[in-house]
Amino acid sequence: MSEYNFAYLDEQTKRMIRRAILKGLAVPGYQVPFASREMPMPYGWGTGGVQVSAATLTPDDTFKVIDQGADDTTNAVSIRKFFENTAGVETTEETEKASLIQTRHRIPEAKLREDQIIVYQVPIPEPLRFLEPRETETRKMHSLEEYGLMHVKLYEDISQHGAISTSYAYPVKVSGRYVMDPSPIPKFDNPKLEMDAIQLFGAGREQRIYAVPPHTKVVSLDFEDYPFEATKADHPCDLCGAEDSYLDEVITDDAGSRMFVCSDTDYCRCRREAGHTGRMTKDVAA
């Protein structure tokens, strides 16, 4: 642990990231360029989130890392271990106990509090990137608030499929100004983006940081006749019976049988510990 500075990054790098975070908070949803460093883990594996967490952590923090909603996915384990080793912070799997949560692809089911911070790992921060690959162009579009292309894309979906066919990384408008990529969370999580906690987004490879302060208006793009819909698998969790949580589908045998379980493993555990049961746990509980 003593071989590296607290939280791995050198102080000058942390200052550079911290300045970017402050500007990100001051202009919600705007992507601040930052000189992302080469981290000892691959680009695309959370280097942006790791850098933002490293610049934000204090030794008093309790740190939680989730990937796909779960604490024990291999990359979450790996990132948690990195900070245990380099920052010596306490870690937890309990959302309730965490002061800083780094996430990939999910927002926890439990409502986050004022005193919590959530850091998202972002692969492609530019919501317009798949419509226009050039940074020089998309930057212009943001500056002119020219988001017609995005609406055209969503509308083409409707005319072709009868519904908007974006199911994750669903674009939002932040505080009535910038269209933002909420990272590849399922659109089920979009309504949670208006929250009490501070939200920070880090894209390492693409060298961007952005932020959503607490209580900021975050609107999922939609149309009057095709309103945004936060969807999930139409099942309760087979382990805890939750009807309100996002579910993973698991293939359980060679015949292709399925079961549905909470993607947020801590949420599921809490519910089971409180005595809730699902289809697959009823017999055991009885």
Binding site: P33, T58, P214, H215
Partner: protein, 191 residues
């Protein structure tokens, strides 16, 4: 207490103190109007502890700092250079500017960012005689309903926020306390 010199008054445990200081500054910027404690640095007079701590936390050779009026003393310059290496510049090139509201002068002197890069704007650290949750009514990102904060100049700050997404961002410091006002905040006069 030992005599203040350019070599004293920095962070004694830089990575840890800077981490705590940044969290306070970040929380202030994320929650406009909220007053938080900010300590760690012991800058020479006339700088407040909070303002000095902000400089130590955010400035380095990559940031230009403008010291306005009374804040521009040889002792402050030496202290800033020794602890941060930040170049001292004029208002127009400043990434950070520090001084009383009077000394900082009209906001038109500072960078407000460009349409494509609104982040390239100055952050002003305004030394205040008092910092209280009274005065102007604030609303917008970071604020649940409304918040109140003593502001030095409501019309000027209102004009700044009306340029959003361009504009300056502010820290208000008083003793060892800090509050922030990003350009995204809507400001109304009392009442």
């Amino acid at each position: 207490m030992t005599k203040q010199s350019q070599f004293s008054g920095g962070f004694s445990d830089a990575s840890i103190q800077a981490a705590h200081a940044f969290r306070a500054a970040m929380t202030a910027m994320a929650r406009p109007g909220e007053i938080r404690s900010l300590t760690g640095g012991l800058p020479p007079k006339p700088l407040s502890i909070a303002a000095g701590t902000l400089l130590l936390t955010l400035c380095d050779p990559e940031t230009n700092v403008y010291l306005a009026g009374a804040a521009d003393t040889p002792a402050v310059r030496q202290w800033l250079t020794f602890h941060t290496g930040a170049p001292v510049t004029g208002a127009a090139e400043a990434d950070f500017a520090l001084g009383t509201w009077q000394d900082l002068g009209p906001l038109t002197a500072y960078r407000i960012g460009t349409a494509e890069y609104p982040d390239r704007s100055a952050t002003l650290i305004v030394e205040c005689a008092e910092l209280t949750n009274a005065g102007a009514t604030l609303s917008g990102p970071g604020i649940r309903d409304t918040a109140c904060l003593s502001l030095p100049d409501i019309p000027a700050l209102h004009a700044n926020s009306s340029m959003f997404p361009l504009g300056c961002d502010f820290f208000f410091t008083c003793g060892s306390e800090v509050a922030a006002l990003p350009r995204s905040t809507t400001i109304r006069s009392e009442g």
